[in-house]
Symmetry: C2
Subunit: 150 residues, 2 copies
DNA sequence: CTAGTCCCTATAGCGGCTATAAGGTCAAGC
DNA sequence: GCTTGACCTTATAGCCGCTATAGGGACTAG
């Protein structure tokens, strides 16, 4: 009945390396091993990894996920703080959206600042001398730290 | 008239380490040095660094900035591709916004899924068994890769 | 002459993976 | 039995754009 890492990977749409990474990070338990040293998983692991991946899809970081897993592993009677965690999360997402909207407006203005004529680029000029982008005074909005895999 | 790295840092709201990093990356030239080895900068460097920081604020990565600087350093007659770069950039920002809006909706649904009663958390349940967040099938939306400095 | 502020280089770390190297294991087909 | 190929293992380095740390030198004011 137990299965190897490739199957867990397929079932959860996660790369095997990532699974081993989660194990090293303590998000997944150390699994049983076959005689040859292959990791062996069960349905329970599928569920746990699903949980982790859902959390990642919701933009939670590994520290937050660790907290949630700890709760899941030993449920306390009150879970109000989980709602609060989600709440805080929503607030962060809203901030990001607002920041990106401002950025977009600024980029649109930038795009319009060059006529493409007389061997001189207004965009370059604006970038050198124009007003700073108001969206992210402290360089908060780091887009594209990694490009979406294409 | 030339000034040291601290002054350049202050003038452009950039950390000295970051300036040295840009130099290593080839975005800033190797500056003159004092007898003691201190870097010496001019107004031109302020302008160039300003340019770089503006680009960063607009969410451009260092590779894109390198392209723009190359153009700035040796202006060609036609600069249509710069407009296109900005255009592509706007498209990416719009994608991000859309992705975040979907995420937000999903988080709000999640928040509503727990009554906080009978020692059992609906949010945890939804995360383990609910539908995946549609916003980022391939985990495209990596929020918070670095938290905004606080 | 000391304290404090600036500057220098070099190296490691952040998050969440991804990629690469170099090899072991197992089943199927010849 | 022997090869081929798909799978598994560990270990290490790299991605990006910095940030932090260690360990030191230079310069100024009191």
């Amino acid at each position: 009945m137990p299965f190897k890492i490739g199957e867990l990977a397929k079932a959860t749409d996660t790369q095997a390396v990532t699974i081993r990474f989660y194990e090293k990070e303590g998000l997944l338990r150390q699994p049983e091993r076959t005689g040859a040293g292959y990791r062996l998983y069960s349905e329970e692991d599928v569920e746990r990894l699903h949980f982790i991946r859902r959390c990642r899809q919701h933009g939670m970081n590994l520290a937050e996920i660790r907290e949630l897993l700890a709760f899941r592993d030993s449920p306390a009677p009150s879970c109000g703080w989980i709602g609060e965690l989600v709440e805080r999360h929503i607030a962060k997402v809203e901030e990001q959206i607002a920041s990106l909207e401002t950025l977009k407006a600024h980029l649109q203005a930038l795009r319009g600042s060059c006529s493409g004529e007389n061997g001189h680029c207004g965009i370059i000029d604006s970038l050198a001398h124009g007003a700073p982008c108001p969206c992210c005074e402290g360089l908060h909005c780091r887009l594209e730290r990694r490009p979406p895999q294409e």
